[in-house]
Symmetry: C2
């Protein structure tokens, strides 16, 4: 039996019959220290090929451990089913499932209703850039870049508070550490009573709920990931820190960044802002409120007291944007006016504007990238580590 067992290829699946016995001396080399298994019979259920394209022990090794073999990202992704067997990946996707669970749990508790919205759409809502086209019988259609219009329609259809989890498609030719052509959007939208800050508060609390539950319920998984990919534990405040865009820009200027009041934040400026806020407030999560109107899409509600600003916000983890949201314009006349000011063709967005003609409550919302939240919570360096089967301009398999 020993000889037979020695000949079984690595990664094969076996059944073992035997007895579990306690031991006198602690076993140091296994994760079970107090018992050992006395095999009586061994069967091979499914034999692995004799040569593996990667070894699990190499795939789980910290990249800093440079004396020994590690596995590069493309080899991992090309042989994803082996790569996913590492303890690290087993932990990462349990944490990602947690992100979805705690997102839903919080929102359902707050009377949000889960909805499902179409991914094949008839018109590219945001002007047609970066959109995938689909052949639809004899017609042409598009893949949705966001569920936003449909969330908003659910709100105008009296659902009051909705969320949806689903694929989001971006035909952007970006080959960076944080872009995918297909990712999972955690989207929410809600009508509010007095002020869009009610919505910021709900979303901020929701993130605290997610972070706390990951920290408390998936501690072992977080530690497992940390053994391969070192990072500082994720820090957050309760309630969440909210700064205005103006305050953010001031903090950047005080630290040598040359930018105007209404300039958009560049990616390096975002990163720096994250570091400055971490130093000053000791948090990896914060909300930036009241963006300049000029840098936001036409459907963003202008600040009623000063049209230079808007009722819109981004949220950041470790200095990277993970949510972009706003109060939406719910009045069809203002929406047309804003579209014209932004140079958007009214013909293309007619049905969007018309959907507010039968009574629409003031509402706000936002969309979160699931893979980004998981990546940044764990302090990972590449979004391909948190997408089980990632899609980018160069990768469509497996």
């Amino acid at each position: 039996m020993v000889k037979f067992s020695a000949g079984i290829n690595k990664e094969s699946i076996i059944d073992v019959e035997g007895f579990v016995r306690t031991v006198d001396q602690k076993i140091e080399s296994c994760s079970q220290h107090d018992v050992e298994l006395h095999c009586e019979q061994v069967w091979v259920v499914s034999s692995a090929a004799p040569r593996l394209p990667l070894l699990i022990e190499d795939a789980v090794r910290p990249e800093t451990d440079d004396a020994l073999a590690t596995v590069n990202q493309d080899t991992r992704l090309d042989n994803r089913i082996l790569d996913l067997r590492t303890t690290t990946n087993q932990a990462i996707y349990r944490i990602e499932a947690g992100v979805c669970k705690y997102f839903r749990d919080y929102l359902m508790e707050k009377d949000f209703i889960e909805i499902h919205v179409p991914k094949i759409i008839s018109a590219a809502s945001e002007g047609g850039a970066n959109v995938f086209t689909v052949s639809y019988f004899k017609d042409k259609a598009y893949l949705a870049q966001s569920p936003q219009l449909y969330k908003q329609m659910a709100i105008t259809a009296d659902f009051d508070r909705v969320f949806t989890i689903g694929q989001v498609f971006r035909a952007e030719d970006s080959n960076t550490h944080r872009h995918l052509t297909e990712f999972v959007g955690l989207d929410l939208e809600m009508a509010f009573k007095f002020h869009y800050h009610e919505v910021i508060e709900v979303i901020g609390d929701m993130f605290v709920h997610i972070f706390k539950n990951l920290r408390d319920n998936l501690q072992e998984e977080i530690e497992t990931v940390g053994r391969q990919y070192k990072s500082e534990p994720f820090k957050f405040l309760e309630p969440s820190l909210v700064l205005t865009y103006k305050e953010g820009v001031r903090l950047l200027r005080d630290n040598g960044v040359d930018m105007g009041d209404e300039d958009d934040l560049s990616t390096p400026a975002e990163k720096l802002l994250g570091r400055l806020i971490k130093q000053k407030y000791d948090t990896d999560f914060f909300i930036l409120d009241k963006f300049p109107l000029a840098v936001r899409p036409f459907y963003t509600m202008p600040d009623p007291t000063d049209k230079k600003w808007s009722n819109s916000y981004d949220m950041f983890m470790r200095g990277e944007e993970i949510l972009s949201g706003a109060q939406r314009v719910h009045c069809p006349d203002l929406l047309s006016e804003r579209a014209k000011e932004k140079g958007v063709d009214l013909e293309h967005i007619k049905s969007y504007i018309d959907s507010f003609r039968y009574g629409a409550p003031p509402h706000a919302g936002g969309g979160i990238g699931m893979e980004r939240v998981t990546m940044l919570f764990l302090g990972l360096d590449n979004i391909r580590k948190t997408s089980m089967f990632p899609r980018d301009p160069k990768r469509l398999t497996p």
Copy 2:
């Protein structure tokens, strides 16, 4: 104020300030019988257009009430945000959210892990029929017709038990009451220890969990839907009824249907079988096990004792199929052999077959159509009633 209020267009959104007062005599004409509202001020938050394309009171009227106006399906769908405001639709989509919630709750309790799998794929896995093509930068890609391969890869990647909820795309030119080109799949897959009946048992119990919780927690919503669309309450057994295909065919033959042992079930035969089983066993839900191998896809595991049959099953609600599933072939050699027997080109499925070369446990699973489950649980006659924004060969909007 009375005059002002009388002039507000129907379906506008208003704010009212006033006092709630108890009344001496029960108010019969409202849903609140014991209190009334004394308005002091009324504001219009969002005014609806004066002419509505449909009236909510018409849209909520039972279709049998033929003396009064009702709204046909295309008018409803063309004006979906108004149509969704009916009490019936408010109830339907709360029940549909329940279907997803109870599906997840049951599976997470049983240690299933939620995963997300890509919708843009590089090859049409089932031969290329009925698949939508997407232009992917300079290449061509496809929309996934099923998450099956990815669920199976997660199983071979040691995740043991997984589920995924997401869009499924079918480029079928079917304009029936139960086909959509895009629907929500509730998919699960699990490795088993001894027999694929372990999986049938889990899925059967899961349906019981869903049905019970809908019945007990969404009673008011179910009654609301019933007021517009009459139907018999949905009946089920605990544990679920499991019949073999052979037994199903015998029941049909005993009732005058002329069919061979290995013939596939036609849609009318399915319907009839549903009625016969309802009469005999008093259940609207049952499982049909051990389909003829000839009518199932190449990746279905043959019955090890008789290759005429297979380890596969369908599940039915009110005589319509809502789940199709099977034990999958996990051995690459057998998979190649079966593909050849079925005339499937091995070149096209090479990567599928290769994914079982590094050790794959015996596993089985299935996929459920969310909209069908909701439709059939409520006894509705059209799947467009349970898809918030349905897609079919003729409808891409809203």
